[in-house]
Symmetry: C2
Subunit: 230 residues, 2 copies
């Protein structure tokens, strides 16, 4: 990621847009720009060169100023920023939350559930991966983690429908796509009738997490959970 400096550029782009370069051509001199942004004329000039190089603006230098128009790529950048803010401000829940817990060995119930074809098929369809036949159990310990885990219940989730077979009924499972230990994409799953309390979460992934991450009982694992749009 070299987005670090790009932010200065995005700010510049926003200012140019406010000066009328959004979807039309604006005449802006480097000195005028400098005054508006409280930077030097030289820096303003440099920024314009860089924005042009990025393909974010189109520039036409005339004897008394530059004719500037934001290009498609620049418009896309501004819209990206807009939509991330929109999501943030208009939602009641955050785009992502992070949990941490310690690995422990469960009763193998997770594996039993995942092995059911009905669940498996839906997981492939809705989450985009074939789950490894087993779940990773995490025990949450801090107040923060438990509180976050409870908040999660109120957020929209990907729902895997329940079913009934000859022996018994299987309930609805709510899934949240997640990134485990900053490395592996999987999901946090919560059965409506949980066997554990709010201080426990179960994780599924396309791989055997204990092996892939080299983790054992008691190890701390971080899970970044992505909430759903609507």
């Amino acid at each position: 990621m070299t987005e670090k400096q790009q932010w200065q550029h995005l700010y510049m782009l926003l200012k140019l847009a406010e000066m009328g370069a959004y979807k039309r051509t604006a005449k802006v001199s480097t000195e005028y720009l400098a005054k508006k942004l409280a930077i030097s004329q030289q820096t303003a000039s440099r920024y314009l060169i860089e924005l042009e190089r990025l393909g974010w603006i189109q520039r036409n230098i005339t004897p008394d100023g530059s004719l500037i128009k934001i290009e498609d790529q620049g418009i896309i950048e501004l819209k990206k920023l807009y939509s991330s803010l929109k999501i943030l401000i208009e939602r009641t829940y955050p785009p992502s939350v992070t949990l941490e817990g310690n690995v422990f060995t469960g009763l193998g119930e997770g594996a039993y559930y995942i092995s059911k074809e009905h669940y498996k098929k839906q997981i492939i369809e809705k989450l985009g991966f074939e789950p490894y036949p087993g779940t990773l159990n995490l025990k949450l310990s801090t107040d923060y983690d438990i509180k976050t885990r409870m908040e999660l219940e109120a957020y929209p989730a990907i729902e895997v429908k329940g079913f009934q077979n000859a022996e018994r009924a299987f309930g609805l499972v709510r899934c949240y796509p997640a990134l485990i230990d900053n490395k592996i994409k999987g999901a946090l799953v919560t059965a409506l009738r949980s066997h554990y309390d709010a201080s426990v979460v179960e994780i599924i992934a396309p791989v055997f997490l204990r092996k892939q991450l080299g983790i054992k009982d008691g190890n701390k694992v971080k899970v970044e959970i992505y909430t759903q749009q609507a």
Copy 2:
């Protein structure tokens, strides 16, 4: 304006918000933050200190990370950014446009119009200043300026209603608040039945512009025109 550096902070704030610090508390370590933003742990730490100092975030340092919540001031900053983008993207016309033209002496018609009580009263009411009894005429010369002047017709304006007296009828006047030569607040006014063509604009202000700006016929004057919301 010292907004230059603040932009880095705003970016950081947005990222924290996306990590769940918006309207709730998120646990974020400086190292995690550093990885997400492709900066060093030390820089992340420094940014958090600065954000706290700005009053944009509330921080609670625990042995395994910082509990971060965006404060009211931080929320305001994000909303400001959001609304400026919203205006930009959801409007069909830009927030402001800039024109340049050369001063010339008109026929004194402007002064005649402005002197009418009916117009004057509305200008005070709707533009917030008592107009100096006279207009500054600008002759536009470049294609860019003339094109911009014509686009302006399509933008919403502050409308000063016409009237009729014993002698004749006075038409509707459309006004656009403007900043003249980066210094004086006034307005660009356009009568529906203009005496001049599209290459001429008339400016009004609370003061005698020629004197205040020290300008004479032939001098170039820049006018930044602010378009109206709806």
